[in-house]
């Protein structure tokens, strides 16, 4: 330790020199790994498996953009259902009526504790289990419902936290102006709560974009394929990974800007505090 008195002669490098040397070693390791990868990997093989130009072209021709639109449509509908359901669940959790609280808590814990894919498998089996049962707006109805009921559970907790973050004085001011509880909630509390939860809610939207890939578990028809289903199907056909890579980039086109938006919103919320 450096608790020795000044009379002891200090040995070795100064701390600053030592940090410099440590940085140098880290760079050297990085360069070595990069060189190894550069010379040992078969770049021609990698290129033709992941980034084959003719398959990139045919992925577009086969309709990756339609699949992208499907992903967006599935996500948007599920987000609306999740938002509506999540708001109702959040209000139930904050209810003064016990059974509402218990029901909402049970729902939220159940669907948050379950892997989303289990819910999708269950939905895929529904028509078999209940013969003749149909969910309207095929395939949108079943997709929106499956994604939405899981999303509602996650969003409920976010929205509940947002409602509770609205200062108590706001409700008191509204009530003392003569507003009944429901009106105070709609006009005063919820608008502020949604402002507070905008960043975490956008995060939930990003998760939803990615979870929409589970739709292929339900077994929709080919014209209902979203990005993952479409990419997998095409990759199987070509015995090549290029379509999956293209689809992966399509996800990033959606999720990266949303991620930047979240950081902006968070920075703005931080500033206004």
């Amino acid at each position: 330790m450096s608790t020795q008195s000044d009379t002891v002669v200090r040995k070795g490098l100064s701390p600053r020199k030592r940090a410099q040397r440590s940085r140098l070693i880290q760079y050297a390791v990085l360069v070595a790994v990069a060189l190894f990868a550069l010379f040992s990997a078969d770049w021609g093989q990698i290129g033709s498996v992941f980034f084959k130009p003719e398959f990139i072209k045919s992925t577009f021709q086969d309709g990756v953009l339609q699949a992208l639109v499907k992903t967006l449509e599935y996500t948007a509908g599920a987000f609306v259902i999740g938002l509506a359901g999540g708001t109702v669940l959040a209000l139930m959790r904050l209810s003064s009526v016990g059974p509402y609280r218990w029901l909402a808590t049970a729902y939220i814990e159940f669907f948050r504790g379950l892997p989303a894919i289990v819910v999708f498998i269950a939905f895929s089996l529904l028509p078999l289990a209940f013969e003749g049962m149909t969910i309207p707006w095929d395939p949108y109805g079943v997709v929106w419902l499956a994604l939405g009921i899981v999303a509602a559970a996650y969003m409920a907790e976010v929205i509940r936290a947002g409602i509770q973050a609205v200062p108590k004085g706001q409700i008191e001011a509204a009530r003392s102006l003569g507003m009944p509880p429901g009106l105070a909630l709609r006009k005063i509390v919820l608008p502020q709560a949604f402002r507070i939860v905008l960043p975490p809610l956008t995060n939930d939207l990003i998760l939803l974009v990615k979870d929409s890939s589970l739709v292929f578990m339900i077994g929709v028809a080919a014209d209902g394929y979203e990005l993952t289903g479409f990419g997998r199907d095409l990759a199987n056909t070509y015995s090549n990974l290029t379509p999956i890579v293209v689809c992966g980039f399509c996800y990033l086109i959606i999720t990266l800007p949303l991620g930047i938006l979240v950081r902006r919103l968070e920075a703005r919320a931080e500033k206004s505090r």
Binding site: Q170, A173, L177, S272
Partner: protein
């Protein structure tokens, strides 16, 4: 008949008995200032008048209506009682104008044009007609509190409650708010004011109520209660508040 009548009011928070049997009245057009040390129950008393705090025992009668009665139409009664908070509690997502119209259009069901007219008139009254389209976060504390007063006035209340309206303000902003309140008092508004501003109480109040330990210790004209207090507790409190060297007593 008195505008506000309070009979044998008791309020506890858990084991903390905050109000221990309060009886008092406020007459039409009267300005009553409630003073007393912190924790004396004066804010709680004020908040019982529009039932933001529900008392365990006793009656609160406002404009002949017993609002402590479970069958009372509480929201309608509250609409006629203006309340101004220590922390302003403006609605931050609404403009100054919308703060003053939202309850008019929803609770009183006034037309939007009429509500805006009333709001503008009241913002003019508090000297903020140039801030109509600003948002609360863009205003100083004193301006926010004056908007809060305009918001309450826009409901045409029969009575205004003020809960330490200047305690959260920077000293140089207190004057503007007190000026508005003084003007209201002169216009004949019935006001119940919890305050630490002794000069304001002395000048504006028709009656001063001194509270300590959850009871009313002394009340009367300001010249008597502040100028010549009879009770020892009142004397002690006023000496501490009015004497700038009171710190040395501690």
């Amino acid at each position: 008949m008195a505008l506000v009548e309070i009979k044998n009011l008791h309020k506890s928070f858990g084991s903390n008995h905050v109000l221990r049997g309060i009886d008092f009245t406020v007459e039409q057009g009267e300005v009553v200032c409630v003073i007393g040390p912190s924790g004396s129950g004066k804010s709680t008393l004020l908040r019982c008048v529009n039932l933001l705090e529900v008392p365990q025992q006793g009656e609160v009668i406002v404009r002949g209506e017993e609002i402590t009665d479970p069958d009372c139409h509480l929201d309608a009664a509250r609409a006629g009682i203006g309340m101004v908070f220590q922390q302003f509690n403006l609605f931050p997502h609404l403009s100054v104008l919308a703060n003053c119209t939202v309850a008019q259009t929803t609770v009183l069901r006034r037309k939007a044009s009429e509500a805006e007219q009333v709001a503008r008139a009241n913002l003019d009254r508090v000297g903020l007609n140039d801030k109509v389209h600003a948002f609360p976060a863009q205003l100083s504390g004193g301006q926010q509190q004056r908007v809060a007063i305009a918001r309450a006035l826009s409901m045409d209340p029969a009575l205004m409650l003020f809960d330490e309206p200047t305690s959260a303000l920077d000293p140089e902003l207190v004057g503007d708010v007190l000026t508005v309140m003084r003007k209201l008092a002169l216009e004949g508004m019935t006001m119940l004011v919890v305050t630490h501003e002794m000069a304001f109480a002395r000048e504006v109040a028709d009656r001063v109520v001194f509270m300590d330990g959850g009871v009313i210790v002394e009340q009367g004209p300001p010249a008597e209660v502040i100028g010549n207090p009879q009770e020892e507790r009142t004397q002690l409190f006023l000496r501490r508040v009015l004497d700038p060297t009171h710190v040395q007593d501690l």
